[in-house]
């Protein structure tokens, strides 16, 4: 029972990060119908920058700030320089271009930082606090929950309460009509990619200290889990992405805890296959998401 509680909290903490990362995927998918396969590697770039800044200044938080800013900038640059050129091409092209970015970025990171894992310390203790002798959660888990919660609330406010959020949603749903209403759709797309990369960078910052450390491929598995989370939620639905993230986090935590940690990638695969075959539109899609 103690173990179950611990695995549940651990799963929710990982799930919160997957949720954030999945949310970033959904942000871009809703606006452009493109799954940003480069999102993991963009987050890794931000994490490396944070690593360098933290190393130079000695402050974790300056590094964290650098990751946020670099996320915004990277997202905007990638959209403006690369993705915009395949916007009207067949959807396969965007996928391939994003994968090209993955190779390019991993190569560049390897050239700059080398291919060994680098220790990436957590800002809070990762030793579990015990309640009545039962290990419950770590301070770092609390930090994760808090950060993701703040992020989600900020996004919710942005999209439902502000004029910019309204414009972004309009541009995503109906670009032509939005232009007639004076919305600069191109700018909204850039902003959407910037925001998504920012959210991805935060997710990367949160999850890398819990893993093997910093490496050009550090986010590959996270991407896979979060993509599954987004698909569980329907790729289209922000709330679905959050729920999907928590579900994936829990499943992986239980599988890793009760079976074998090496089987978690296969568990992701199994979960994805089951969801895709049972409800291809995801558990939260209002309409059929897929068009033949």
């Amino acid at each position: 029972m103690d173990r179950f509680v611990f695995l549940t909290v651990y799963g929710l903490s990982r799930g919160a990060i997957y949720a954030a990362f999945a949310l970033a995927l959904v942000l871009i998918f809703r606006a452009t119908r493109v799954v940003n396969f480069a999102q993991g590697v963009l987050a890794v770039v931000s994490a490396y920058l944070a690593y360098s800044v933290s190393g130079a200044t000695g402050s974790y938080w300056l590094g964290f700030g650098a990751a946020l800013v670099s996320g915004l900038v990277l997202g905007a640059v990638v959209e403006r320089v690369v993705m915009r050129r395949v916007e009207h091409a067949p959807p396969l092209n965007a996928v391939i271009v994003a994968l090209g970015l993955v190779l390019l970025t991993q190569g560049i990171l390897g050239m700059i930082y080398g291919n060994q894992y680098r220790a990436f310390p957590a800002p809070f203790s990762t030793v579990a606090m015990t309640v009545h002798g039962v290990p419950l959660m770590t301070r770092y888990d609390l930090f994760v929950f808090g950060t993701v919660l703040v992020l989600m609330l900020a996004l919710a406010v942005l999209f439902t309460r502000t004029a910019t959020g309204l414009r972004m949603r309009a541009a995503a749903f109906a670009p032509q009509v939005s232009r007639l209403l004076g919305v600069n759709v191109g700018r909204m797309l850039t902003l959407g990619w910037a925001l998504a990369a920012l959210v991805g960078a935060v997710a990367g910052m949160l999850i890398i200290p819990t893993g093997l450390g910093l490496h050009p491929t550090a986010m590959d598995l996270v991407f896979v889990s979060s993509f599954t989370a987004a698909v569980v939620g329907g790729l289209d639905s922000p709330i679905g992405a959050v729920v999907g993230g928590l579900v994936v986090g829990l499943v992986l935590s239980y599988v890793g805890g009760y079976l074998n940690s090496a089987s978690t990638p296969l568990a992701v695969l199994a979960l994805l296959v089951v969801v895709l075959l049972a409800r291809p539109g995801g558990l939260f899609s209002a309409s059929t998401a897929r068009r033949v």
Binding site: A163, L166, R167, R169, A170, F173, A174, Q176, V177, S178, R179, L180, L181, G182, V183, N184, V185
Partner: protein, 238 residues
């Protein structure tokens, strides 16, 4: 009266194939001009060219004397041109209120738009009752009202209306035409109205142009066109 909208020698089309040939048009301020013609006559292409969605090959589009050609679509509303597209362009995923807000966001922030929104609701009480509903939950008539109301929140000088009567019950069409008349008479709104429904269009229009195969084949006052039997039979089918 000076013409608010003046179109001179406009030629435009898709992928190098011209659809509009040498179209001339003038709409005086505070009047309603109907664009009539059969399916495929180029009416919708004309509107799409005016609002920048189709690039003209030749000709000029003057709004109050300044040329609109080459302006990005999203800039046109700032010049006072509102386009209510065919199919109405209500954004289904947004609520009625969000749609209305979006209509005015280019010129004012949310707080400043409370007044214009209240006016829109006074004009269309049905929309107020459904202001929290998503666009896809509205009926056809409500969608048309929302599209019109949203365009009015923008406080445009010229409204381009594409087939507002399409798929609506005659009673609703009559209401919409009456509303256009009122907006012109009380608010000085200028409207370029594309319609298949010739009778209702001519019932509100001051002037009209008849298009066929991408050309303007007749332009006159609405009354004169109604009286021109030959023209009516040849192009308007009644």
């Amino acid at each position: 009266m000076t013409a608010l909208l003046r179109v001179e020698g406009l030629t435009a089309g898709y992928g190098g194939v011209p659809v509009l040939h040498d179209v001339d048009l003038a709409v005086p301020e505070g009047t309603i001009c109907a664009v009539l013609g059969a399916n495929g006559a180029g009416k919708t292409t004309l509107l799409r060219t005016l609002s920048g969605m189709v690039r003209p090959d030749r000709g000029r589009i003057l709004l109050d004397g300044s040329d609109l050609r080459g302006l990005p679509v999203e800039q046109l509303i700032r010049r006072g041109l509102a386009h209510v597209p065919e199919g109405r362009g209500v954004i289904d995923e947004l609520t009625v209120e969000e749609n209305l807000w979006l209509g005015g966001l280019f010129r004012a922030d949310r707080r400043a738009l409370r007044g214009p929104l209240r006016e829109a609701y006074e004009l269309f009480p049905a929309l107020y009752a459904r202001r929290r509903h998503a666009g896809h939950q509205l009926s056809g008539g409500e969608r048309q009202m929302l599209a019109l109301a949203r365009a009015l929140v923008a406080k445009p000088r010229l409204m381009l209306l594409d087939e507002p009567s399409l798929g609506l019950a005659p009673l609703v069409v009559a209401q919409i035409m009456a509303l256009l008349r009122r907006l012109r008479d009380d608010g000085g709104l200028t409207v370029l109205l594309v319609e298949q429904n010739v009778r209702s269009a001519l019932s509100v229009a001051d002037s009209a142009v008849v298009m066929a195969q991408g050309r303007v084949v007749a332009a006159d006052s609405a009354g004169a066109l109604v009286g021109d039997d030959a023209l009516r039979h040849a192009y308007l089918g009644f």
